[in-house]
Subunit: 434 residues, 2 copies
């Protein structure tokens, strides 16, 4: 295809959705990809770059001359332009700035200055504004004029002379208003907004809760400095979910996509908790060592050890996952702990009794009735305990102002292991040595 008639390739690309073009370019080698991309109109090139993965963006930036890159970046949406700029090394940043306009340089520096993870770092500055004294027909004209550049014109922001945010107006409300009405009469004068220094997740949460198309962002002096759009909020929410899922398996955050991550990055994200849990599991070993005599006298007990301690961990992991997710979505709040505890005890007892019945059969077959009693009793106790640990840990973390998601499966399993070993052999000692 890339060897063919350039005009037909260009026609093909223009007819495709931008997201698909970007995905297709990712598949190509650098030279044909650059060749194909340059067949697109400037505005489409700018959009395509916004869809590329960061690693691919860097390749494109390196391939383009300073002037070409500046021209494309001028056409990009302000937030994507700032994201790209932040990834460039200091030399490339310095080389690029003189080719941009004064306003673009200032916009870039301002957006790039916000810390990673804050609203400021994902917001964009190409929003549509209106003045409160405009009539609805003037406002519609004003939006028409801003339609090409603004990220969205479906929500317009009303600012006073000092750029303070005093209201929002949806294009829908503007269209159904009477022609002589003024913006100030039909706008929502108490808009939902967020501070630029707030965490990104706060913006995503507000957009989801109030079903917004975009959320205005204000600085400490209540001046409008940007907006976060719903599609960017969706990306933030997806990253947040990924981070929580990682925490649930004792994985640290990974700065890039898993595909692009280096061995060192992945090693670092994984080793910390693995080593920590090795030391945590010493207690399980110590528990076993403490019962060496009982074990030596009844080696048949060992057969049930993996099964019992795994069951406590599995039940605990389930409980922890239910609570971590419910706390994350707001379905359950930290204060609900007491109300849910009773229910959890009943469920865990029901689960434990069912599993005890299953294991009793194996117990009789492998070790006789006495062993069966020990193993069944231990199963109920261990499952109950695992479930309570798994359920409580997220709430304890929340109470300590830590992320409940850190109450991960492996952590719950390790705690359940230690207690499971001790419980099992204690019960065995009591029952078998009467």
């Amino acid at each position: 295809l890339s060897e063919g008639d350039t005009q037909s390739v260009a026609d093909f690309l223009v007819s495709q959705e931008i997201a698909d073009v970007a995905a297709w370019l990712e598949e190509l080698d650098t030279a044909p990809a650059m060749q194909a991309m340059r067949l697109l109109p400037l505005h489409d090139q700018a959009e395509v770059i916004g869809y590329l993965r960061p690693a691919s963006q860097m390749i494109v930036a390196a391939q383009m001359g300073r002037r070409e890159l500046a021209r494309v970046m001028s056409a990009m949406s302000h937030d994507e332009r700032a994201d790209l700029f932040k990834q460039l090394d200091a030399d490339a940043q310095e080389a690029l700035l003189p080719s941009l306009s004064q306003a673009e340089r200032e916009d870039l520096r301002r957006l790039a200055a916000f810390e990673e993870g804050t609203v400021g770092a994902v917001m964009t500055s190409d929003y549509a504004t209106l003045r409160p004294e405009m009539t609805t027909s003037e406002a519609l004209e004003a939006l028409r004029a801003q339609a090409v550049d603004a990220e969205t014109i479906y929500t317009a922001y009303i600012v006073d002379a000092g750029r303070a945010l005093i209201g929002v107006l949806s294009l829908r409300d503007l269209l159904i208003a009477r022609p002589r009405q003024k913006v100030v009469e039909i706008m929502d004068g108490e808009p939902i907004y967020v501070r630029a220094e707030a965490e990104q997740e706060e913006a995503a949460r507000l957009i989801a809760r109030y079903d917004l198309i975009a959320l205005p962002v204000c600085d400490a002096d209540d001046r409008l400095v940007g907006i976060v759009t719903a599609d960017d909020a969706m990306d933030v929410a997806e990253e947040e979910v990924t981070e929580d899922i990682y925490k649930g398996s004792t994985l640290g955050p990974i700065e890039t996509s898993v595909k692009d991550a280096t061995i060192v990055m992945l090693y670092k994200a994984r080793i910390y908790w693995l080593v920590l849990l090795v030391f945590g599991n010493i207690f399980s070993g110590a528990g076993i060592a403490a019962f060496e005599e009982t074990i030596a006298a009844h080696l048949a007990l060992l057969f049930f050890l993996p099964l019992l301690i795994a069951s406590g961990g599995n039940a605990g992991t389930q409980s922890a996952t239910l609570m971590v997710r419910a706390l994350a979505t707001g379905d359950v709040r930290p204060m609900d702990f007491g109300r849910l505890l009773g229910r959890e005890v009943l469920i865990a007892l029901a689960l434990g009794l069912t599993m005890a019945a299953a294991v009793a059969v194996i117990g009789v077959w492998r070790g006789g009735p006495e062993i069966a009693v020990v193993v069944s009793l231990a199963m109920v106790v261990i499952v109950l305990m695992g479930a309570l640990i798994g359920m409580s840990l997220p709430f304890i973390f929340a109470r300590l102002d830590r992320d409940p998601a850190a109450a991960s499966g492996p952590l719950v399993t390790s705690l359940a292991d230690v207690l499971g070993v001790v419980m099992y052999f204690s019960i065995a000692r009591v029952v078998l040595e009467i």
Copy 2:
């Protein structure tokens, strides 16, 4: 507050965001909540009901007379109305229908007929349509007329006389077009769309990929039958994530919120895999039983058993989580397996060696140099094996057309446990009995 002056309560409620009013009503008892809700204008009541949890919606429906409920439902958005209708029992449905208009009855029956989980079950039928031969000013007038009822007017759908979808037009493009242009000239004639029978996740995926405000839904004959809006797609995506997270901890789907779930529902969602894994872990027990002689001769080996098998499970859980999430977000595709395998081996070796070093120190202290050698060697092998199981299982599931998310932590841990037991004692037998 609910005892106070009704006018001031009404004023307060109207000044609040609908989502906040709904959250506040959820906190009240039934009688004051109904009293407060009835202070709102009809359209706001309809919106509030859309924000309530299903359990609360049922209480409201039961409290309202048939006529009152019909009036409120007429004002609801079509998709939320259908969701509410589907929850009513057959008697309540029958009682309600005569109070609705003919068109509403048909719309309800049609929307409620789609199976749970399909696009049809989340789409709404209150979308804005245009005819291809309209001029831009006629189109703007047409959208203005549809603005009150349509779920969104920011994307309009162009249908021919047979209601076949022939294009989409954003309000933005309509506003910047010249007044005499026709809709057919400026519309996108190859719109992204989805079939009503497709899975909901497909709609959510398309909306996220192409950053759409709404996605048109067509029936088998290409006729436009509804749209899915971005905010509804976000809800679908959140449910999908919850389901995947549940699978990652061997939890079955739960039909309602965790808070509202009954003991029986939660028991059912949990017991299946717990019992299955009990039987799975019998193999670990059998593994131990097979090495009873070696264990009896070197009881010190038992100290390291929990630590070693937990490490394999933990490393495996990490690998599985990384791959399941990367496959779910599209970061990694099933065909990438080969490319990622080599990297995983290197990372797992690095992790295993680090953990072996940690455990060697404990080994020397607890059991002397020979035990230290056994334990370190076993650690490297077990971590490598756990990581490979964890990494491969999601790809195997994907290849078998099953959900990779079913490659859950507890399943990986159980497999790693069995192999870990066998590896550990095999290595011990070889090294210690030379």
